[in-house]
Symmetry: C2
DNA sequence: TTGACACAATTACAAATGTACTCGATACTT
DNA sequence: AAGTATCGAGTACATTTGTAATTGTGTCAA
């Protein structure tokens, strides 16, 4: 259903970096990812190109290098991705995923409070876009 | 980190069917999936074989056809899958995913109550498996 | 000015994935 | 028994994904 090709796992990771950096060339994205795991510069370069091809990123030429920026809002990508997961892994039911997260995810008491408030605010409110 | 190869999106879907059916041959899995989307019998067959190769399913020969049953507990697969998603899409933070689900997932008031209770029971309790 | 670097664009390629065709063996029908 | 429909195992293959080697082009130090 999504209007563009889906993203692979690794592509997601790279996309997320661009969201955080807002506007970045290969070098800075590579540096950001390399902090966590070992990855080649050119590999990141490939991901960025593919993300742009798939319509997820804008590309701008500055000097002799390219700058990438988000073209689809994170929220949209997150929705599509999570929806797909929920569909495949839970047959479309989001509740089991919630339960899983609460049970497995080690939330601090503070976070739990935060969550409770979120839920309170949500109840009965059927507004969104 | 998982001790076996990860599952692809489609493989996940097929695995889930086997979890529900407990023990099934290609035909029954195919029928179950075909209710939702159009898919070839032999395609399902391939997924089942790969799932077994990857160590997710047990295979038993009965007559001249094979029966598949879960070998890894759903809970484990779910944990590995969700952990991976959280890592790639939210940099390892589960909270944003919770928020997303609460905001986007349309839960009924009843479900929200259910969730609230779950949270209450969770608070302070640092026990698991 | 001329190698030696630095950096990014291009090109490459094996493995994984989605998807199904082919073929052989049984079962069903006249 | 011969013909045909059924069903699943085996085989096939194009596309996508993960990952990087190669090539091209300025930059600087001797």
């Amino acid at each position: 259903m999504p209007p563009r090709p889906g993203l692979s796992k690794s592509e997601l990771e790279v996309a997320r970096m661009v969201w955080t950096l807002k506007d970045a060339n290969v070098r800075s994205v590579h540096e950001a990812i390399a902090e966590n795991r070992d990855i080649d510069f050119t590999t990141v370069q490939t991901y960025l190109r593919r993300l742009a091809e798939k319509g997820y990123l804008n590309v701008r030429l500055e000097g002799r290098s390219r700058f990438y920026s988000p073209r689809v809002r994170p929220r949209t990508v997150i929705r599509e991705t999570v929806d797909d997961l929920v569909e495949r892994l839970f047959g479309g039911e989001a509740m089991p995923l919630m339960k899983h997260l609460v049970e497995e995810g080690r939330f601090s008491d503070g976070e739990i409070d935060q969550l409770r408030q979120l839920i309170d605010r949500m109840e009965g409110a059927d507004d969104e876009q």
